[in-house]
């Protein structure tokens, strides 16, 4: 423990600091995160995150599985956005092997990734609101998330860990009528988003709890390696879908919502806007879905030539990067590394919570949207 409290007090009325453990079993640490908080009254002087409680060694495991088997290990990282993990991994291997993915598959991947973003943001919204005490939003958001899970179930048979992509394309084409269902879901979701916003966006208590809480400037956010909505909340226009387009994002029209103040409320607004942008992307991709094959030309035995690459995509949480080294000999990667967005965002928690109150800690854990499966891997 290297919690060294800065002695802020100047008078002789010194009080003892209270060190409390938030987690690993705590209702709002979103899993098995443990935050050691040093408190002065209710104000946080210092915080230290202890992670690794569900470290399963996915990187090590992957180095001993063959290239196709790894896809289902990636499901287990960010388990609320499993398809996005699949996508990032498959694209990295495709990049290593220089496989061209057919256009239809790229469109469908875009649809899946965006559906996944909606599902992930639903979970974020529900838990974030629950942490701040608005319990109804949780149930509403989960209700809509069920629709996304139903769509995934129809597509690939699974509801949480999809294993929904393959190196070179997709395992299956969409079932008939699926695209119609996606479009009607988009319709429904837009209405529900207004419901959520009615409950929260202009709610005075919500504003009080999120405005000017956890403010972080652009420079500092970049330095801390924040990514995804927390970075964009500070006004840094960085979205890998725009900056380094993958799948079919270069053919889609969408905006990247940006914050101005860099506080929790801005990050909330950004994610709410991202819901809408995702719906917009899904609409474009489904309506313009090209005909054609769904698998590229992939050798039977996947064995990328020796070399290494880093490829990152914009997962719902931020920059999800894969650094993969192939030795060209074996049928498994020589080095498999994930750059987990939750891990890097969680690193910023200490900076965000210092100086705030205990009640803000849960709001801030909510606002960085972590999944411990991804942090610990």
């Amino acid at each position: 423990m290297t919690l060294e409290a800065p002695r802020t007090s100047t008078t002789q009325f010194d009080t003892d600091e209270l060190v409390i453990n938030m987690g690993p079993q705590h209702p709002s640490t979103h899993g098995v995160l443990r935050v050691v908080l040093k408190l002065d009254g209710e104000r946080v002087i210092d915080a230290d995150c202890v992670i690794g409680y569900i470290h399963r060694g996915i990187e090590k495991l992957s180095e001993n599985r063959d290239w196709t088997q790894i896809i289902l290990l990636t499901d287990r990282m960010d388990y609320v956005a499993a398809a996005t993990n699949n996508l990032g991994y498959c694209q990295t291997v495709e990049k290593l092997m220089q496989i061209e993915v057919p256009r239809r598959a790229r469109y469908l991947r875009t649809v899946l990734a965006e559906l996944q973003r909606i599902a992930s943001h639903c979970l974020w919204l529900g838990t974030h609101a629950m942490d701040i005490g608005a319990m109804t939003v949780l149930l509403y958001a989960f209700r809509e998330r069920e629709f996304v899970l139903d769509l995934f179930e129809e597509f690939c048979g699974a509801r949480l860990t999809y294993n929904a992509m393959r190196i070179g394309g997709l395992p299956l084409d969409i079932p008939p009528g699926w695209d119609k269902k996606v479009l009607s879901f988009c319709e429904l979701m837009e209405g529900k988003l207004n419901d959520y916003e009615m409950l929260l966006t202009n709610n005075r208590i919500w504003l009080k709890r999120t405005r000017d809480v956890g403010v972080i400037g652009a420079e500092e956010a970049i330095g801390l390696g924040l990514c995804g909505p927390p970075l964009r909340g500070s006004g840094v226009p960085r979205d890998l879908r725009k900056d380094e387009p993958y799948a079919a994002y270069d053919e889609m029209e969408f905006n990247v919502p940006l914050g101005t103040r860099g506080d929790t409320y801005d990050r909330y607004l950004i994610r709410m806007d991202e819901f809408r942008e995702s719906i917009r992307i899904i609409r474009q991709a489904v309506e313009g879905l090209p005909e054609g094959p769904i698998m590229g030309k992939v050798p039977r035995l996947i064995k990328p030539p020796a070399g290494e690459t880093y490829h990152a995509i914009e997962s719902p949480k931020g920059e999800l990067g894969y650094f993969i080294v192939s030795d060209g000999k074996s049928t498994n990667p020589y080095r498999f590394r994930v750059r987990p967005p939750s891990f890097c965002n969680l690193q910023g928690l200490k900076r965000l919570v210092t100086g705030h109150l205990v009640a803000d800690v849960v709001a801030l854990i909510g606002t960085i949207d972590i999944v411990l499966g991804e942090v610990d891997r």
Binding site: T2, I51, G52, H55, G57, E59, K60, L61, N64, Q91, E94, K95, L96, M97, Q98, I99, E100, V101, R106, I222, G223, L224, G225, V236, R238, D243, E244, P245, Y246, D250, P305, A306, G307, E308, T309, Y310, H311, A312, E319, G321, F323, V325, D327, G328, K329, S330, Y334, R335, R337, R339, F343, C344, L346, Q347, D376, R377
Partner: protein
Amino acid sequence: MADETKSQSQESGQGGADTPPDASARPAADPKKPAAAAAKPAAAAKPRPKPKPKAPPEPPKAPEDQAPPEGAELPATVTAVQDGVSGAVQQVSFWVGDWTIIVSAERLLDVMRFLKADAATLFDYCSDVTAADWPPREKRFDVVYCLYSTRLRHRLRVKVRVDEKDPVESVTALWPAADWLEREVYDQFGINIVNHPDLRRILMPEQWQGYPQRKDYPLEGPGELLMESPQDWLRVRNIADEAGAVADADAEIEIE
């Protein structure tokens, strides 16, 4: 072996020419010239894999750093750092759209400082810090820094080769983001990172012994052995206890 290498790099050269859809969108990093005769430069420091009798994984023989295709134009970032910190860049590598520079561990901090500050590079965002283990090699670890510039929107990988004991300067002072990432590298590989503000284990428990991501660390930890055959596990543990000393990383049994 040389033949093999050659054919591989040829393949790669052609691949690079195909303008794959997934390749990086950086214009500077897209040398679309077919480079059929990309030969492996002799300058590359490739130590012969020493035969190691009982190394569990097969020693990797393939080259890990492909040279840029001949005649390819180096991107501005690489030339800038070559000019800016002369002599630090040992090698430049290119593979499927990614540029990598390999620098010496002693000059790492200089290079990083330059990369962050120079107007042509301006790498203000540290995407990732990680490592790879190549056991038979003399300097067995590659420490890899993935850098990104949020202003100029380009990427670069910086690689350092170190041995187990070699110190690697922490870059936390430049990018606070590297804090946890370097802790993870230390935790998983046991790389000797120096001047880090808070170097502790991060994913593994504080008392853990051994570094899981090293290639000589067994895939199956004690947990699986414990579940499958408790008797064996007990026996192994008793042996370790009787030995009374800290067991070496290979036979490490540590139960919380």
